[in-house]
Symmetry: none
Subunit: 235 residues, 2 copies
DNA sequence: AGAGCACCTTAAGAACACCTTAAGGCGGTC
DNA sequence: GACCGCCTTAAGGTGTTCTTAAGGTGCTCT
């Protein structure tokens, strides 16, 4: 396994290279954002560990460049900040996971293992098809019976999450975590209102259809669930 | 599973109680160190979640007191501090694990499962099949002879519990704990009424079947039991 | 056989969860 | 700096679900 570590702090970098090598990884070490980008583009690493704060070019920009260049290797972001906003920004930019500093070496290893086990981004369905519903995750656009749904950002994210787990009840907490990036400080009502808007748009697009093939059901006491009836199939 | 949460932040506490309840845990919430200590000493919780920084008495002191009083339940410590030293101090005081804030809800659940030595979610069967009865735990929906049973939340939980232990008599105490999250303050009558509703719906769905293949029997003096006859088996 | 007990069945009030609407605030854009 | 769209909050309405209570039924043990 070939790792690129992009980290400017000398001591941390040194010990990480040492520790990861002992674990059997091959580690390259770039000490600033531009050097890191060049190395990441030039070689096909299995995984990147990127500090958020870097000289010459910050981690977020670097990740955005890589993703724009269609590099899909998993990226673990190191953030020294206690600030959830930065993590979300990082995940939005295309990082796959984050690790707040300071962390234990065991934690780092666990995250690396998790990311390397995960299928690469381009294996994740780019377009989710559920009967007449089509969610294009790259364009962040949903279509229903050929018409584009005019979804607001939060509505889209919610729909994508539900569509990735069809027929599965998702709890409000999980929804808050995945859509808002914060499992705790999101009140239920926010989710309810967003669901309401989403439902309206889905139903509206479906008014002309003979049968409701996709619907968002409420699972009382738990959360919501996107149900999808394949055309007259039985299982 | 009975959890004591000791946390002073109102909102975080609120959402933790909510989220953990959704996951089927029973949660008591103490808002400062002294109240938490009193509650922990008075009851036998399965696990404690303790904030490091608390009014009136900090988490470390609380943990030391509990361990001095021979209370050995697992303790998960929440630390807002980026400082590894505090984590180590907490572990020295007798905590079993720590979780740095901010954390994701999934992380919290994973730690709880680890401490409670529960099997990870993916080991539990997602769909329980008992002849014509099918319990889909992801969707929280039960089917019988292909028809969906319109179960209320408590009815569903009860059925899932029974279906996980077919042919096994489950006592009212166990049922109260798993379904209501409270082994003590649930009167028998509540359980009886819920069983009644469940039975009715199961029987109704079974009226057309030639033989009753699944039935909920009463075990006098103990509780209830879901019996399932695979193929003309009698006892 | 009779008393006592455990469980069944029904109905109704209270509590709860969710839906729906509207308005305020925040951030981005022109 | 004004506008616009989106997110969030709040509050009232609605339907469902839980719990309680009370009377009935049928075991079980003396």
């Amino acid at each position: 396994m070939w790792i690129l570590l992009i980290e400017d702090e000398e001591r941390l970098g040194h010990s990480l290279v040492g520790g990861l090598s002992e674990e059997g990884y091959t580690v390259d070490w770039a000490k600033d954002g531009l050097e890191g980008e060049a190395m990441a583009l030039a070689n096909s690493y299995d995984i990147l560990i990127v500090d958020w704060r870097l000289p010459r070019q910050d981690g977020k920009t670097l990740i955005e460049h890589l993703r724009a260049a269609e590099r899909s290797m998993p990226i673990l972001m190191l953030t020294a900040l206690d600030d959830i906003d930065h993590r979300i920004a990082g995940l939005d930019a295309g990082a796959d996971d984050y690790l707040p500093k300071p962390f234990s070496f065991e934690e780092l290893l666990a995250r690396l293992r998790a990311l390397l086990r995960r299928p690469p981004l381009d294996v994740l369905e780019a377009v989710i098809l559920l009967g007449p519903l089509e969610v294009n995750t790259k364009r962040r656009q949903a279509r229903f019976f050929e018409q584009v749904l005019a979804l607001r950002p939060k509505e889209y994210e919610l729909l994508e999450l539900l569509a990735r787990h069809p027929g599965e009840a998702l709890s409000r907490t999980v929804i808050a975590e995945r859509v808002w990036g914060d499992p705790f400080y999101v009140t239920d009502n926010v989710i309810d209102v967003t669901i309401f808007g989403l439902r309206q748009k889905v139903l509206e697009a479906q008014t002309h259809a003979s049968r409701k093939t996709v619907r968002i059901t409420t699972v009382r006491g738990v959360g919501y669930c996107l149900e999808h009836e394949p055309d007259g199939f039985s299982r």
